[in-house]
Amino acid sequence: MKTRSSIAALMLILSISWSDALLTAQEQMTGAQIMEKVDTRTVPVDSRMETIMKLIDKRGSVRERTLKSYRWGDDKQIMWFLAPADVKGSSFLKHTYDDRDDDMWLYLPSFGKVRRIASHAKKGSFMGSDFTYEDMGDRKLKDYEYKLMGEEKIDGKECWIVESIPNKGVVTDYSKIVSWVWKTEYMLIKEDFYDRRNQLKKKKVLEPVNVGKYWVAQFMSMENLKSKHKTEIYMNNIEVDTGLEEKLFDTRYMKRIHR
């Protein structure tokens, strides 16, 4: 009995020490290490969801788009627009790479062909939303210098605040991005985007939800502080690890009729 108590006590001491060590290790992390953890955190092998995108102007009038979206890890995403009627049938495909610019394609049924989105066009708005094509892509770790700015609790979640400044030669709309990273899951839950004059331009907020063994965003908003325009994205019916095949994430699938 005594031996068992001793083992339990030892386990408790070890676990406390381990937690302390983990916390200490976390607290000693640099901005770059945090963002590397964000980049490599575990995400679903694949996921599918229905998305409602609300475009809200400064007077409060709302335009709504409905999409069907599939993801393959963090690397590939394909979306089909289901509503409104005048954009239905359009689709968007993105391939993300670590070592080069993302590839993006847009299919508009009125043209009947898939067009690659050139890098200059990534500054443009994604289907009238406050997200640019650049915002839809993933930032490359190597393209930024990171600085840990502090910590803050947001909605009960302990967060690091990390500043990302683009390296010289990186083509981006922003001079600086400040990110709030949820410590427990290494997940972004808020970001501020600064324009080239270093003025706060846009604010992004994400709300995570636990699906299976993963944390994924179920809500995302982007507000443009200059135009007072806001985009809200609601992810519904999220399914993860559904067995989607990687070959679905190809321009060949963009033209297929979806409901």
């Binding site: 007077r59 890098s119 060949r252």
Partner: protein
């Protein structure tokens, strides 16, 4: 094809549709209503167009393995007080892990350039109202299209048993593309309706780095007729005798991608027209049409799209031969008889959700100094409702097509609601 024929065609297509689909498929009807009023700025006929166009589409999907699509238009001409139905597309899609198949009346868009596509010859166009959007101008035809996925490559085969040709505005003297007396009264001699006369095409596509490329081959018929003249010795003039089509072969390639921050594309097609006797002066020597273009979006959202088009005629031996070749109209690709052209498109979205847009499109015929300028504003007060206001302006030398239209400047308003 007579529109009445489309009903048995649709029934036939349904036979191809998987049987179980009849019980578990999803249906959807969607469409749009569009009102378009165009007035000539100069008389005498001051009303250019008063058209109501109702688009109806039926879409049906069975899971993710097949789909059925019918697209039709009811077009009411408010000037002539006549209306007609047009079935532009009616096809069945079958999707497999190794390829896609489409059977039925359809539009197959080829080429990567913007509007000026020499390789896009599978569907002819109605040019009666050539300021109409290209996708509506196109005539849907019965075709079978199969796309086979071979690793990173895609091989597409098209078999085209139905033939049709470019329809020019022969009933509107203000927009005569081909100013030949008697052209409107003459019916072209179509290729005989035989299996050996059916057309086919093959395309190979793949992505290499930042570039999407394709090479293709087409074997079939010109889709623009050749006017044949006979000499009238009594009046000592050439008289239009008949309109014919000749067999052609097209070898083509296109590419689209990014170069630094610019979008770039090019499209080239080499045409060989059959000359059975080997010495028919009305047959053009082999010729090449090339389009090269680039686009760029500035920080303020201004989008600029520039293109250059050129036609080269090969195997010309002397000046007189060159003169004769130049007098033969280009038979394929654009519909517009131009040999060297430049186009520009400046556009910008505006409004809180960038729902409105303004655009100026210019097409300049370099050889003949003709031009067409189309400024327009599209205002979208609600989702799915677009109001468009614009001008079609023409000018240039009297030898150019646009120069001949210089008294036909138009102002228009278009309203479209999609549902």
């Amino acid at each position: 094809m007579n529109n009445l024929v489309i009903i048995p065609v649709i029934l036939l297509l349904l036979l191809f549709y998987p049987l179980e689909g009849a019980f578990c498929q999803n249906y959807e009807i969607r469409g749009s209503v569009r009102e378009w009023i165009k007035n000539y700025i100069e008389g005498p006929q001051d009303q250019g167009l008063m058209e109501t166009r109702i688009k109806m589409e039926l879409l049906s999907t069975m899971g993710e393995s097949s789909a059925f699509h019918v697209k039709s238009y009811y077009i009411y001409d408010g000037i002539k007080k006549t209306g007609e139905w047009e079935f532009q597309e009616a096809y069945v899609d079958l999707y497999y892990g190794w390829g896609d198949f489409r059977f039925g009346k359809q539009i197959v868009a080829w080429g990567k350039a913007d509007e000026l596509n020499p390789t896009d010859i599978l569907n002819p166009q109605r040019l009666g109202n050539f300021s109409e959007v290209k996708n509506i101008r196109k005539i849907g035809l019965m075709m079978f299209k199969g796309s086979f996925w071979l690793g990173e490559n895609t091989l597409t085969f098209v078999w085209k048993p139905e033939f049709d040709y470019y329809r020019f505005p022969t009933d509107n003297p203000r927009f005569s593309f081909i100013p030949i007396p008697g052209l409107g009264e003459l019916q072209p001699d179509l290729p005989e309706n035989e299996l050996k006369n059916t057309e086919w095409a093959l395309k190979f596509e793949r992505t290499i780095g930042l570039y999407d490329i394709s090479v293709s081959y087409f074997e079939g018929w010109e889709n623009i007729f050749t006017p044949i003249f006979t000499y009238d010795p009594n009046h000592q003039v050439q008289i239009l005798d008949k309109l014919t089509f000749r067999r052609i072969k097209m070898f083509s390639a296109d590419m689209a991608g990014s170069f630094h921050s610019f979008g770039v594309w090019t499209e080239a097609a080499y045409f060989r027209t059959e000359d059975s006797g080997g010495n028919d002066p009305a047959v053009k020597n082999p010729y090449i049409q090339i389009v090269a273009g680039t686009d760029y979006t500035f920080m303020n959202g201004l989008k600029v799209n520039l293109q250059y088009f050129k036609e080269y005629i090969t195997m010309i031996n002397n000046d007189s031969e060159e003169q004769m070749e130049e007098s033969i109209m280009s038979r394929l690709g654009l519909g517009f008889p131009m040999r060297q052209a430049f186009s520009s498109r400046f556009s910008r979205d505006f409004g809180p959700s960038e729902q409105h847009s303004a655009e100026i499109f210019t097409l300049y015929d370099i050889d003949e100094s003709g031009y067409m300028v189309q400024p327009k504003i599209i205002y979208s007060p609600e989702d799915a409702l677009n109001l468009e206001f614009g001008l079609n302006l023409y000018g240039g030398g009297s030898e150019s097509m646009f120069g001949r239209f210089k008294k036909n400047d138009e102002v228009y308003i278009k309203a479209e609601f999609s549902f």
